[in-house]
């Protein structure tokens, strides 16, 4: 039986609430910029480069990715923790989702920086 101190996890609910509110802004921005601004609704390669060449844009997109990945991973964890799990399983799930989250963010950051570099070279 874990001690009360070990069981304190109020941070994740509050974290979800905060990232959720941030996403209202960030996701709406992302959707509008990528799909409701250009003609045709989908950016061509050139249009992607034109957009991502801005350091501020890259920063916001990476911030968006981190926030959405956190929210997604914690959300999946919250759903799974509604099941009867023992401590070992809970630890395993938390670590697995952390790894998945890091992979997603890592991949996204790589892509963003690669495209940023391509945009700058063009």
């Amino acid at each position: 039986m874990r001690s009360i101190e070990e069981k304190r996890r109020s941070g994740t609910w509050i974290g979800q609430a905060i990232t959720g509110v941030l996403l209202v802004i960030l996701l709406s921005l992302h959707m509008i910029v990528h799909h409701f601004v250009v003609e045709g609704g989908l950016r061509t390669y050139e249009q992607v480069l034109a957009y991502i060449g801005n350091p501020l844009v890259v920063t916001i997109e990476i911030l968006f990715l981190v926030v959405v990945t956190y929210h997604a991973m914690v959300g999946v964890r919250a759903i799974l923790f509604d099941l009867p799990l023992n401590e070992r399983q809970k630890g395993l799930i938390t670590r697995a989702l952390t790894v998945v989250g890091v992979v997603i963010v890592g991949w996204g950051v790589f892509l963003a920086l690669w495209l940023f570099r391509m945009a700058r070279l063009a």
Binding site: T12, L83, P84
Partner: protein, 247 residues
Amino acid sequence: MNDNGLFGQKKTITLKVWRYKPGAIDPPRYDTFQVEANAVTTVLDALEEIKATRDGTLLYRHSCHHASCGTCGMRVNGREQLGCVARLLEQGSDVVVVEPLAAAPLVADLVVDMTPFAAHFTPAGMRLVRTSEFNAEAETPAGVERFTRYEDCIECNLCLSACPVANTNPAFIGPAGLAAAYRALITGERSPAEVFAYVDHEDGVWRCHSAMECSAVCPSNVNPGHKIMALRRELISYKVKRFFKGG
């Protein structure tokens, strides 16, 4: 049954009752009974008539017969209700299915094991006997603006049965236990440190996903969903104050 024609036209209702007795009625089945119901005939009335005259082995819990003791909780057409006030003609169908509560281990027929429920409830500091009864006509003593009734909960377990989390995670304290914790906090019966230590963890106040079904089915005005959220607010405010005080 003679009702002196006082309660409107009688109607025949098909009652489907879930039956299960380990070793005797196993595998489980639904037994069908035709019952005569008037405007005030309740599910419990029908069950008692069946037990008295047709099948003496039917098992169910009952006590006060007026929604005060919380003993006769069951699911009627899929929804948690107290059998003693669930009127047969108000169920929206000529076929009424009666099943035991969810989120608690089955014992037999309509009886479930209330031990897990009590296990989450008792440490919360819930008084098992109400110490005050609300009386609208009573004069308040000097300095008291109004009476506030804290102990509405009749421990019927309907909220736990309706909760989507309690049905998959027995470690969750549950709506009744958390509502009792909130009451223990605001009546001052337990210290904030004690109450928060009990509820501040991932199977406590933070496991709730605000489905609010507990409040929807509560027959006694407890509104556990609201109390869980209020408990969160108190907890956050307590932690923020403690953080700034350096404690």
